[in-house]
Amino acid sequence: MITLTQARDLLREELLAVAAAAVPGHNGVVTHDVGPVNPRVLEDGSGPATVCLITVENGDPAVVDPQGQVAAAVAALTERGWQAKVQPVESGHHRASANRDGFGIVVHGWDGEWRLTLSGQTPEITG
């Protein structure tokens, strides 16, 4: 059984690996690393299950290619065993989501924006 700490470390490693694959020549930066939190705290934080949420950014200020970077991220995710899907572009929002073993990752790119954002959440783990 995996612990929440192990899950958090694994998620961080995956996000950084995918971020690096999506933007050649640059390493991703962990922008937020929050947890453990109760995912349903907005109503009531007394539930037993907890998750961690991590966000990573990567990008080259000289390169604005959200579509290509999201596609590259999806390819990297698939190669690493994630089940990934690119969603239809919405008003310049390029988005893909992926799942593996209870973990979730969402990749966001935006028209005119050089930064690629990858957010991830661990499975809910009690205790």
């Binding site: 899950a7 950014e57 008003s91 969402v106 966001h108 935006w110 954002t117």
Partner: protein
């Protein structure tokens, strides 16, 4: 003491009785003419008052509230060191310590266009470290934001839940995209327990506080900034009372899992300012919305836009998961914040359809009748008592479909919510 201190004290006394918008503008005007050294001096000499005064420039409030957190933590540290601290005080010490940690970092460019990593510090527009605790936290740059979303949490939220609120604010900001800022407004004493949440007392007390905050926000953001107010659960009751009683105005309003506004409020036009769009989410099985403890469910209002919470992949069910990671509910909230309204997916299922257990048999209407009966408050007491004993916890969501609206089928490679880690 310089002249700035007595002038500030007079300002605070004067604006206390003014309407929110006028008060905030007067405070902002005062600070716009104040020399920077004098303003900085007030941060240390009038820390508590300045930190919570709407209309004061955000950067000054961030500094003041940081100092307030440090001072409160030091007081608790002394009590812990002296062996006099209660369990709650130790918990609060840990909370305050965490609130002083940087929120993270971000990528940016320097003047030469080179990529740099910039630390992101916590930004509090309000901190009240004592008792139940209050706080208002900002993610993003308010002065430069093109869209700002204010999230009002519901019952059972106190200062010690700040970490989870931060996580939700981050999710919202990520979904809303570049140029957005999000704010968690826990600037009121949320009801602790179902019995307290059956009363409007806390929301009525919160309404003028939210009105003053909104007025202060108007002085901080650039003209034309899109502002969205989000009320979740009892937070929707707070947002509703603020609009109803204080004429609080945002560009758009989102209510998720709303317990109703008032028995007399039966449409958006009854409480939302003219020209403001009301977006409402009610997930299948949301027992609070079905019960309507404070009035008709806004999801049934003819002039509200009811948005979808489920897309067949990530389940949003019941009352607790409107902000579920990667859900259609969270994505729709992001779309609304950034103004991509054409992309918002909608639903029109009825409570009866959503709660049907057998043909012709559903549980939403019996629940509504029970909530309206004299037994509701005693039942709430029992619920709170059992919950306090740890007998009731929040069940994880399960995959659901509304059963009425045609849904997008999961694409190849997209699984239902997995059951747990295997590595």
């Amino acid at each position: 003491m310089t002249d700035a201190e007595p002038q500030f004290d007079q300002l605070v006394a004067r604006v206390a009785s003014l309407p929110p918008a006028k008060a905030a503008r007067e405070v902002r005007a005062h600070f716009s003419t104040l020399p920077e050294p004098a303003a900085r001096a007030l941060v240390t000499s009038r820390t508590d008052r300045l930190g919570g005064l709407d209309g004061v420039p955000a950067e000054l409030r961030y500094q003041a509230n940081h100092l307030r957190l440090v001072a409160a933590r030091e007081r608790l540290r002394d009590r812990i060191a002296g062996g006099r601290a209660s369990r709650d005080e130790v918990l609060r010490f840990n909370t305050l310590t965490e609130m002083l940690q940087p929120v993270g970092q971000r990528l940016d460019v320097d003047a030469e266009g080179n990529r740099i990593v910039v630390p992101v510090h916590r930004q509090f527009l309000l901190v009240q470290p004592e008792g139940q605790g209050r706080m208002v936290e900002v993610l993003g740059d308010l002065a430069r934001a093109e869209q700002v979303a204010v999230l009002v949490p519901g019952m059972n939220n106190d200062l010690d839940k700040v970490r989870s609120q931060l996580a939700r604010a981050q999710d919202l900001q990520t979904e809303a995209g570049p140029g957005s800022a999000t704010i968690v407004w826990l600037g009121y004493d949320a009801p602790l327990g179902l019995e307290a949440a059956m009363s409007k007392q806390r929301s009525i007390e919160a309404a003028p506080l939210l009105a003053r905050f909104a007025a202060g926000l108007d002085t901080e953001v650039a003209p034309g900034t899109d502002r969205t107010l989000i009320g979740n659960s009892y937070g929707g009751q707070v947002a509703g009372q603020a609009m109803l009683r204080e004429q609080v105005r945002f560009d758009r309003v989102i209510l998720t899992g709303c317990p109703g506004i008032d028995p007399g409020v039966r449409s958006a036009a009854d409480f939302v300012p003219p020209g403001v769009q009301l977006f409402v989410a009610r997930a299948p099985g949301d027992y609070i919305s079905y019960a309507e403890p404070h009035g008709p469910d806004p999801a049934s209002f003819p002039d509200a836009i009811r948005f979808e919470t489920n897309d067949g992949t990530v389940a949003v069910r019941g009352h607790l998961s409107y902000f579920e990671y990667d859900s259609e509910s969270l994505r729709n909230i992001g779309r609304i914040i950034r103004g991509d309204l054409a992309a918002v997916t909608r639903t029109s299922t009825t409570a009866e359809e959503e709660s049907r257990v057998l043909p012709g048999v559903s549980w939403a209407e019996p629940l509504r009748q029970a909530a309206a009966s004299p037994a509701a408050v005693p039942l709430a007491k029992v619920f709170d008592g059992v919950r306090a004993l740890g007998k009731i916890s929040s069940p994880p969501p399960r995959p659901v479909t509304d059963g009425v609206r045609a849904r997008r089928a999961p694409g190849p490679g997209v699984s239902k919510r997995p059951e747990g880690p295997t590595r």
